[in-house]
């Protein structure tokens, strides 16, 4: 028998995020597929009652909560203590949580404390012959594997956006409080706040439908023999503002800044997709002036519909990776796209 514990943290307004509902969807499906299993929910936050109420219609048999001001902060020491206490209280054998930065920071350490194992970045979780299988990628999204574990407890962190969100409704949940003593050693770290780019340079939008991938071609010499980096920057920003797309970039474009070349000022390593960057999930992806392997294979792994604009009709990385390849000057096309978007 498996006791499946969904771990979720509350947001600053006391709610739970969509990613937590995605983990709940996975856990509920596991409970349905494994005979004699039960689902329990463990919540962490300053206050957890409202979050529990918001998912009260889910098939959980019990709700546990660790609440208090100390647990409002995403901090390893207190989060680990809270998660450890929840797992012990629930006597859980399988823990499912969303792969948010908060859970990704802490879940492996908790697995270590409990003598368990952890699998992160799960893109699929299924049950076959009564055994749980986790799908995840290795070597930066180049090799996909399906694995099973005999060891318990087993922590599974589900990649955000990889699963549908549970649509269970609200109600009145009874939350059993779990006490976690706050020793001085647990609060040596204080979260001072969140630093984010200025609104006009905030180009990473995980919830966007479209990912726009800018390649190093934007900063190269154009047919007139000159570079037009400032114009490229304006075109891209106008496009992002008009479409509310998220911006990804190739490593080579980001690295140009470190080599003293003119670069797009709003780009940072956080925009980078591919081998040493992110592998974001968006419904659509459009790349322009991008000829590298990484964005089109690794970075685009979880993009459903893909189109590319490139001057090279034989671009080996767009061919076979994109649905449509436009052989055209991205400066001209994007300018026209921006005009059209502005008039609609």
């Amino acid at each position: 028998m498996e006791t499946i514990l969904v771990l979720a943290h509350t947001e600053s307004d006391g709610s739970i995020a969509k990613s937590a509902r995605e983990a709940l969807h996975v856990a509920a499906a596991l409970r349905k597929s494994i005979a004699d299993s039960q689902l329990v929910v463990g919540l962490i936050g300053e206050s957890v009652q409202a979050a529990a109420n918001s998912i009260a219609a889910c098939p959980a048999v019990k709700y546990y909560g660790v609440a208090g001001a100390a647990f409002a902060q995403p901090r390893y020491a207190t989060d680990a203590a809270a998660a450890e206490a929840l797992c012990k209280a629930a006597q859980a054998t399988v823990m499912v949580a969303p792969a948010t930065s908060r859970w990704s920071r802490v879940a492996p350490g908790v697995a270590q404390r409990l003598g368990g194992r952890v699998d992160t970045h799960a893109t699929g979780v299924a049950v076959a012959d009564g055994k749980i299988s986790v799908n995840r990628w290795y070597y930066r999204q180049r090799i996909e594997a399906s694995l099973q574990r005999a060891t318990r407890p087993w922590f599974i962190l589900v990649d955000v956006g990889a699963q549908p969100a549970c649509e269970c409704g609200a109600g009145a949940a009874v939350v059993e409080p779990v006490a976690v003593p706050i020793a001085e050693a647990l609060t040596r770290t204080t979260v001072l706040g969140i630093r984010q780019p200025a609104t006009d340079t905030q180009t990473i939008r995980p919830e966007a439908d479209l990912l726009f991938v800018a390649g190093a071609g934007w900063t190269k010499k154009q047919p007139d023999g000159q570079t037009h980096t400032a114009e490229a920057g304006k075109l891209i920003l106008d496009f992002l503002n008009a479409t509310r797309a998220s911006l990804g970039s190739s490593k080579s474009l980001v690295d140009l800044g470190g080599e003293g070349q003119a670069v797009l000022p709003f780009l940072s390593h956080l925009n980078q997709i591919g081998q040493t960057g992110a592998t974001p999930r968006h419904a659509k992806g459009l790349s322009a002036c991008c000829h590298g392997e990484e964005p089109h294979t690794v970075g685009w792994r979880f993009i459903n519909q893909r189109r590319a604009i490139s001057l090279d009709p034989n671009c080996g990385w767009a061919r076979g990776k994109a649905d449509v390849l436009y052989v055209a000057d991205a400066f001209k096309v994007l300018a026209k796209v921006n005009e059209l978007m502005a008039t609609r």
Binding site: T100, R117, E144, K284, Y326, V333
Partner: protein, 269 residues
Amino acid sequence: MNTAYQIVVCAGIVPDPLQTLEPVTGPSGPALKNEMMLPSVLDPWAGHALYEAANLARNCPGSKVWLVSLSPKVKLQQVMMTVAQKAPFELVPLDGPSSGFAEAAEVAAALAQAIEAIAGLDKSRLLVFGGWESASRGAGATMQMVGERLGIVDQFQGVDELKLHPDGSLEIAERIEGGRHQISRCAGLPALLGWATGNLPEPKNNPQTGMANMRGAIPALQKAKPVKLAGDGLSFASVALPKQLRETKIVRNAAPEDIAKEIVAWIKS
């Protein structure tokens, strides 16, 4: 106050990203075809951790950097020929698999044991660095387990910035969702930082540093402790390359206006 740090960097090696990877099933589970023949590099994010450590040590007199690596020692020696030129460090090699399919908990146990065995290590001056994820397993799990085994509960992942304050506290910027950073202040050492990209460029090769490092690294590699990873309780049902190859429609000789209209319609669909 004492500003000398003992910085231990955990870093594996991975196949060069430009190599084509093909999974095979070996006697001990999944592996890469011709794995020992593939050229390797230092794991990229762990590399950033090493550069940050070296920079910190350079600016804080009396500090020292150790590089702890669990890798096949023949491959590690090859990688060290380049990496040793980047920054001064003492190599602590463990001779074992660097496969992405190895169990993170077992790797963490071996690394923690090696760190504990470093002579003269003072945990009150200890910073443990590593990459927040590897380019092989990509789990982002090993460092936390190392920290737990060492009793370090001030842990940070996806670190892009570390500032040291005169009172001994540390200010750390960690990557979180949406291209943002969470800024935290840690009262003091020990602490564990899983680095993302950081802010430092890759150091230029310095042959003198390389020679100095290799004088210690070669004997250490010869004496590297063998480590076997059993993978207990873990089984792989399938390991495969993605087979998806798209039928790409090539649009040539279309006017920018027409392409733009098609793209806008697609975006709005």
